[in-house]
């Protein structure tokens, strides 16, 4: 009975989405107050019923209702409660429902948090968001119903994929989806703006915090995925350029470009059509990612159950939503004119370059991800584009981007670089290069060109980020939250660069065959397999090793890598033993049993790897601080000295 209620709630949510879209768009077009109010009520109802549907599915999981097909395929009676709840989004159908719920939540937030917007504009935004909701709810009800019954009921579930039975991966999808779906707000804002053919500074100011919020969730989501891959997959890698990873990274790059471009549009009324195109692109890339992951059009290690029917549905939906928005753009964007002059070394120029490099990186990743598909469709054979290609290509736009980042922060709007800032930057650049040589030479005893460049850029970005608030405070200038957020995020970018350079330059990864009592050495550390014992968890059995690590005779730590076999069967899982440190991680993973009591073991030394994720956390934190800037919550009326730029016709 309960699952049927959930199914029914989902149908009601779909009907309310239709009402939200129709009354929102028509009400906005005719400035009909009653219709606009109806759209807002539909938003609330849509959220309530989507949440109800989600709640009933979660209830079916908690109650171990194996008469629901989706529950029977993704849960097990021995599965702990936390993972039974997380299993709701452990596969295709449930993650779509989660996606829908995120969208309903964002829509509700927009309806509640944008009262200061002009009513017709706000109504159109809700209308566009409603159109997206319709697509996802229809998708679920027609091809991927999570409430489908299994008759007769299974006596036991097939279990949640053991890879997903992990804290980081349990919380990873909701956060990632909040990011993906959050870009729908900027998308709807852009579509409504294009429809009205009017873009002013207030529009940019309203879009900025929503974009920042979505972007910071996406940042955390991507970082969580990377961290999980590092400790759970057992290979010790932190980024694989897998299509699914790329699918989340591309909207992130577009979102990053959008954040920067919005700043110019707000402050100077420039880059208008470009900003709108980015707002459309960021969400389009989120949808594209969904298509790539779920249609089976690309082969990925993450592949969800794929089904050609689903692929066709998503492709049709994609065509309508993205194609429609891009046609709207082609039709209306030429009316938006921006005209203002700026100096070559002004902040506008640097932000323009920022966008150029970010989009170049995005295009390269898109090309690399889709290249196998293009080649296959043209019947030229089957190819794969590997990580080395991405690693190299990504550097091309990233190195100049980091170099310019340090300067751009200090450039003033409209005018060029200020004299004092120039000398400060020379000093920072000098310190950066010297520091880089020092780190490479003294700490690792090895000076290589790419490593030196990486460390120098990292130090350059970090120091330059710190110099900005320092100079402002000394000059007794205010430091608004938006500027502080920028500083934190840019410092995080430097930190991540530091981590990547350290790991890529000095990591050591080696495989050994060890019996109890034997040891192996890497990077000056001695790893001794001291003991092996059987362990038993709530729903798995396994083997755990004690790996005693010492350096020059003095003990460092004991690692406890595990090999687990879940009771429900399937592939054995690796739980790496990791000693976390500020300067390095020590990593041991159990491989296969080789016979005669020996095990293959993968031992790794990972210098500075923590800074990759610490930097990502700071980037997200910077986004949060900036999104909370009071200016964004100020009334929408144009303030003195800030012209509302009319449409030039």
């Amino acid at each position: 009975m309960i699952p049927e209620l959930g199914h029914f709630a989902l149908i009601l949510a779909l009907l309310l989405s239709v009402a939200q879209a129709v009354f929102g768009l028509a009400g906005g077009a005719r400035s009909n107050t009653a219709w606009m109010a109806a759209s807002r009520s539909a938003v609330v109802g849509q959220f309530v019923f989507t949440a109800l549907a989600f709640g009933t599915l979660a209830w079916a999981f908690i109650q171990r209702d194996f008469s629901v097909l989706y529950v029977a395929t993704n849960s097990h009676s021995e599965l702990p409660l936390f993972y039974r709840v997380a299993a709701v989004w452990g596969a295709h159908e449930g993650s779509l429902l989660l996606w829908s719920l995120c969208l309903a939540a964002w829509t509700l937030a927009v309806a509640a948090g944008s009262k200061a917007l002009e009513a017709p504009f706000r109504s159109r935004v809700l209308g566009f968001l409603g159109l997206i909701s319709i697509g996802f709810q229809l998708f679920m009800l027609t091809t991927s119903n999570p409430f489908k019954r299994l008759i007769p009921a299974a006596s036991e579930g097939l279990d949640l994929n053991p890879l997903l039975q992990d804290f980081a991966l349990a919380v990873h999808p909701p956060i990632l989806y909040l990011g993906y779906v959050g870009f729908s707000v900027a998308f709807a804002f852009a579509c409504a703006t294009l429809l009205e053919g009017r873009l002013d500074a207030a529009w940019a100011r309203w879009t900025r915090p929503w974009t920042l919020a979505a972007w910071l969730f996406l940042t955390i989501g991507i970082a969580l995925g990377s961290w999980w891959a590092y400790y759970e997959l057992g290979w010790g890698g932190w980024w694989f350029w897998d299509p699914v990873e790329n699918a989340s990274f591309m909207p992130w790059l577009a979102g990053t470009a959008l954040i920067h471009s919005l700043a110019v549009t707000e402050k100077r009324g420039l880059f208008k059509s470009w900003t709108l195109l980015l707002a459309v692109s960021a969400f389009s890339l989120s949808l594209l990612g969904t298509f790539l992951v779920r249609s089976g059009v690309l082969i990925s290690v993450h592949a969800f159950a794929t089904d050609p029917k689903r692929g066709i549905f998503i492709l049709a939906f994609l065509t309508i939503v993205i194609g429609g928005a891009l046609l709207l753009f082609a039709w209306r964007a030429p009316r938006l004119r921006s005209s203002a002059a700026f100096e070559p070394t002004s902040r506008e120029s640097f932000l323009l370059l920022n966008n150029a490099f970010l989009i170049a990186a995005l295009s390269l990743i898109l090309l690399g991800t889709l290249y196998p598909l293009f080649i296959d469709a043209l019947e030229l054979g089957k190819v794969t584009v590997g990580a080395p290609w991405f690693n190299l290509m990504f550097l091309v736009p990233m190195l100049p981007l980091l170099a310019l980042l340090g300067v751009g922060m200090h450039a003033a709007w409209k005018r060029g670089l200020l004299g004092t800032a120039k000398y400060r930057l020379y000093a920072i650049a000098g310190i950066g290069i010297a520091g880089s040589l020092l780190v490479g030479g003294a700490a690792y005893g090895d000076i290589r060109p790419m490593t030196t460049l990486g460390f120098a850029l990292a130090l350059w970005v970090m120091l330059s980020s710190l110099a900005m608030p320092w100079a402002r405070i000394r000059a007794r200038q205010p430091l608004p939250a938006a500027a502080l957020g920028m500083v934190i995020a840019h410092f995080g970018v430097g930190l991540t660069t530091l981590g990547i350079t350290g790991v890529q330059s000095f990591k050591v990864e080696k495989d050994f065959a060890l019996g109890v009592g034997e040891s192996a050495q890497i990077a000056g550390y001695d790893f001794k397999l001291a003991a092996l014992r059987d362990v038993q968890g709530m729903n798995f059995i396994g083997v755990e090793a004690d790996v005693v690590v010492s350096r020059e005779g003095s003990p460092v730590t004991v690692l406890h890598p595990q090999k687990r076999l879940y009771n429900s069967g399937g592939n054995p899982m690796t739980e790496a033993g990791i000693e976390v440190g500020a300067a390095r991680d020590l990593f041991a993973a159990l491989g296969d049993q080789l016979g005669q009591g020996r095990w293959s073991m993968r031992l790794q030394y990972k210098p500075l790897i923590r800074y990759i994720w610490l930097g990502a956390i700071l980037i997200a934190l910077g986004g949060l601080v900036a999104a909370l800037d009071r200016r964004y919550r100020a009334p929408v009326q144009a303030r003195a000295g800030e012209a509302v730029v009319p449409v030039a016709q």
Partner: protein, 179 residues
């Protein structure tokens, strides 16, 4: 006002992309046609999964149609199709031979003990040599071999009862008669 074409560029680029996606969907990159269709099945003789001393292989089925199902315990799709395989085995129309691919013997035996055994025999191929001969691209894959020892059908991905009834049964009726 002359219409500025450059604003149409994103829409055009997207249209090209959609065309590629549409073609890509039809092709389903995981679906590589087997070059063995209509050709004699590659022969093999391998250790039985349950008993290393016992050899099983293509010779066991001369003169009647049979199914070869490639599976492994690490393969999620194999778990999905297991019910269908059991149901097909219960129909008792055609023997199913399993090819346990790149797997661990103990794990594989435990899997069969837990989920039920649809196979008349299971060949153990830990290194995947035989699977290469058969052009196996990924598990699960299911082949139908006719009574003349020719491969008449290859199914990639989890076998479902619908696929069995619509794709295999008509061929099987034909395959039974073909000597």
């Amino acid at each position: 006002m002359k219409f500025p074409v450059r604003f149409l560029v994103p829409a055009i680029a997207f249209a090209v992309l959609v065309a590629f996606f549409f073609v890509g969907l039809q092709r389903e990159p995981g679906r590589i046609p087997s070059p063995f269709i209509g050709k004699p099945a590659p022969t093999f003789s391998l250790e039985s999964l349950g008993d290393p001393a016992w050899k099983v292989g293509t010779a066991d089925f001369s003169g009647r149609p049979w199914l070869l199902n490639v599976w492994a315990t690490w393969c999620v799709g194999c778990r999905d199709e297991h019910e269908a395989l059991l149901a097909i085995a219960r129909q008792n129309r055609v023997p199913i031979m399993g090819l346990n691919w790149r797997d661990d013997r103990a794990l594989a035996l435990r899997w069969l003990a837990q989920l039920g055994n649809p196979y008349v025999s299971v060949a153990y191929d830990p290194e995947g040599r035989t699977a290469i001969d058969w052009g196996v691209y990924g598990a699960p894959e299911t082949f139908l071999i006719d009574s003349g020892g020719r491969v008449v059908k290859k199914h990639i991905g989890p076998l479902t009862m619908e696929a069995w009834e619509s794709e295999f049964l008509p061929l099987l009726t034909f395959a039974e008669g073909r000597k």
